[in-house]
């Protein structure tokens, strides 16, 4: 739908990928652990291996949580942009199908937050 306007009304996205200096935005979210109030936003190079998310970014972000050490990585289930997804840790983000502003959500079976409250 067009905007009701007094003249031509067309704009570039303020967040187009070329504004991020070679990076693309990626959002990561650990489900049932809403002590972290929202998904986390990262500017990441599309050539970065997915393994760097699992081994560097996530522990740095979520390590404070008492359940983080209990995560069993072989049981984790993933979703990429609303679809079930099995990441290839050694492939790049782009090869794994992550684009600009992709959302990666993951569930850790058996871990439901502090006191089972999704905290």
């Amino acid at each position: 739908m067009p905007v009701a306007s007094i003249g031509p009304y067309q704009f570039e996205s303020r967040d187009k990928v070329s504004n991020f200096h070679g990076n693309q935005l990626t959002y990561l979210h650990w489900e049932e652990h809403n002590m972290y109030c929202a998904a986390l936003a990262y500017p990441l190079p599309p050539t970065m291996p997915f393994r760097a998310i699992v081994e560097n970014l996530l522990p740095e972000a979520y390590g404070y949580h008492p359940e983080w050490a209990k995560v069993k990585w072989d049981q984790v289930t993933w979703m990429l942009d609303g679809r079930p997804f099995i990441p290839n840790l050694d492939a790049s983000l782009a090869e794994n199908g992550l684009g600009h502003k992709s959302v990666v959500r993951f569930w850790t079976p058996g871990l439901h937050g502090i006191g089972g409250t999704a905290t």
């Binding site: 739908m1 067009p2 905007v3 009701a4 306007s5 007094i6 009304y9 067309q10 704009f11 570039e12 996205s13 303020r14 967040d15 187009k16 990928v17 504004n19 991020f20 200096h21 990076n23 935005l25 959002y27 979210h29 489900e31 049932e32 809403n34 002590m35 972290y36 109030c37 929202a38 998904a39 986390l40 936003a41 990262y42 500017p43 740095e60 972000a61 404070y64 008492p66 942009d81 609303g82 684009g99 600009h100 502003k101 992709s102 959302v103 959500r105 937050g113 502090i114 006191g115 409250t117 999704a118 905290t119």
Partner: protein
């Protein structure tokens, strides 16, 4: 003209009614040197059809001279109270220094909106064809400027003692959470004049204002802040006029042409949702920031929206207007909203110009009692865990920036309408690019006018694009004009707390 006849027959001063008639009808005319469509270029493009501008009824019928007189009286009273508040060190009578954080949020988040409202009403006060609504908007433009001014003057007293109040204007235009109120108003001001009035006069001033003004002003009264209560009173009679303008504009549009109904309904849907999302800061203020609480957010929502708003929309149903879309989602969220939002600011207090804290035990008990279905089940364990950690010197801070909703610009913290444990993710593709939303309400608003919202200045993305002073927290805070270690971080250990403890210790000493 009968008014003129009467006045020539019997020379005398004009009555109020007659003066109002001259002001609002006599001053409007059909232009001849230029076509009306060039003099008033913004009246048609939104699709609203007006057949007879004289059908506009303003129940207040205020003339300029009486307007100046009323306002001057109120100013005199207000400034007398502000002076005595300052002379008597009124800030020492507040319940607790934590209360001042609500004032910080008000000054940086709300007062600049009063100024934006001034600009918005000045603009539409020029562009309506009918002199009646033009005058009403012009008066409101002056009111709003006065509100911004009196709020700044009143709160400036607190700035002498407390942190975070020193540069509200700059912060409003730069700081991440203040992009929420800023973008709300800019969305309204960049719309046409009819949508602007539906947004601000109706949805905000009429439907939702009781949820902004009443809690802040009663909160001030309950917590000993007489200065804020007084500017609240001083603004109250203006607010009554603004609310009337809001209801009048809606009825006027609906009565003028049946074709206006669906357009107005869509605006009501949009601006109800945008206004409701904006009120999340009020929800958190009521439940967490007032040391002495007035009522819970859930209770306020029930009284002012579910009951008050329900009656209003029943009244409007004869025009074919229904309740705003997603009002039932707002009601489903009433038991979670304030807790989700306070937890968010607790996550990111390293980058706020006010402090957060874990509520005291009796405050947690109050929350458990007010929210029997959600608080113990979902939120209390979170706060108790954080408290435990904080007591061990491991206060929780979230060190990664959050994902934001493209429409309301709030971090995507809200949970699924029917599942309070799962974050609500909504998204769409527009011209090959992904856009994310916190709710169906925000997604709908985007889908109707995507070209508008793809321009959203989202603070998190702006930081990552390198437009906010740098990549580290100190650099960004510097760009925000926040003083690291003073304005931000937990209340516990803050300069505000230290100062307050000194004052109250003195008070206890002199009491002995």
């Amino acid at each position: 003209m009968s008014i003129a006849d009467k006045s020539t027959a019997k020379p005398r001063k004009l009555g109020l009614k007659e003066r109002y008639a001259h002001l609002t009808r006599g001053l409007g005319w059909e232009t001849t040197y230029q076509p009306m469509s060039k003099v008033f270029p913004f009246t048609d493009y939104e699709g609203i059809k007006i057949h007879d501008w004289d059908k506009w009824q303003d129940p207040f019928r205020l003339t300029m001279d009486s307007y100046w007189k009323f306002q001057a009286e109120k100013e005199r009273k207000l400034y007398a109270v502000i002076d005595s508040f300052a002379q008597n060190n009124g800030h020492l009578n507040i319940t607790d220094a934590r209360y001042v954080n609500a004032i910080k949020l008000f000054l940086t988040g709300v007062s600049p909106l009063e100024y934006s409202a001034h600009r918005g009403y000045a603009h539409v006060g020029r562009h309506f064809v009918g002199a009646g609504p033009r005058i009403a908007c012009q008066m409101q433009a002056i009111d709003e400027l006065r509100h911004a001014q009196t709020q700044i003057h009143t709160i400036s007293h607190y700035n002498k003692f407390f942190d975070g109040l020193h540069d509200a204007r700059h912060m409003h235009d730069h700081v991440w959470y203040l992009s929420v109120p800023k973008s709300f108003f800019e969305d309204a001001c960049s719309a046409g004049p009819f949508e602007f009035l539906t947004a601000i006069s109706f949805s905000f001033e009429y439907v939702l204002t009781s949820l902004l003004f009443v809690p802040f002003m009663s909160g001030a009264a309950y917590n000993g802040d007489m200065a804020t209560v007084t500017f609240g009173f001083s603004a109250q009679s203006d607010e009554a006029r603004h609310m009337t303008l809001g209801l009048e504009i809606i009825k006027f549009m609906l009565e003028q042409d049946e074709g206006n109904v669906p357009i107005v309904q869509r605006w009501i849907d949009k601006w109800f949702w945008r206004g409701y999302r904006l009120l999340t800061i009020v929800a958190m203020m009521m439940d967490y920031m007032l040391p002495k609480r007035v009522m819970s957010w859930a209770e306020a929502w029930e009284i002012y929206f579910e009951q008050g708003g329900g009656a209003l929309f029943e009244d409007l149903s004869r025009y074919g207007i229904r309740m705003p879309k997603y009002h039932e989602v707002a009601s489903k969220e009433k038991g979670r909203l304030s807790h989700e939002v306070w937890a968010t600011f607790y996550n990111y207090t390293q980058a706020t110009a006010f402090h957060t804290w874990i509520p005291e035990k009796d405050e947690l008990d109050w929350l458990s009692a007010k929210y029997p279905e959600t608080f113990d089940q979902l939120y209390r364990p979170r706060f108790e865990y954080w408290k435990e950690q904080s007591d061990q010197g491991k206060r929780f801070y979230n060190n990664v920036l959050p994902q934001l909703c493209v429409t309301c610009q709030i971090p995507m913290i809200f949970t699924e309408p029917d599942d309070p444990k799962t974050i609500c993710f909504r998204s769409t593709l527009y011209k090959g690019e992904r856009y994310h939303f916190c709710s169906d309400g925000c997604k709908d608003i985007f889908l109707y006018e995507p070209e508008k919202y793809i321009q959203s200045w989202l603070p998190v993305h702006q930081i990552y694009q390198g437009n906010c002073g740098g990549a580290t927290v100190p650099e960004v805070l510097n760009w925000y004009h926040m003083s690291l270690g003073n304005d931000n971080m937990d209340y516990q250990g803050s300069p505000d707390e230290t100062l307050w403890n000194e004052w109250t210790a003195d008070r206890h000493k002199s009491a002995i």
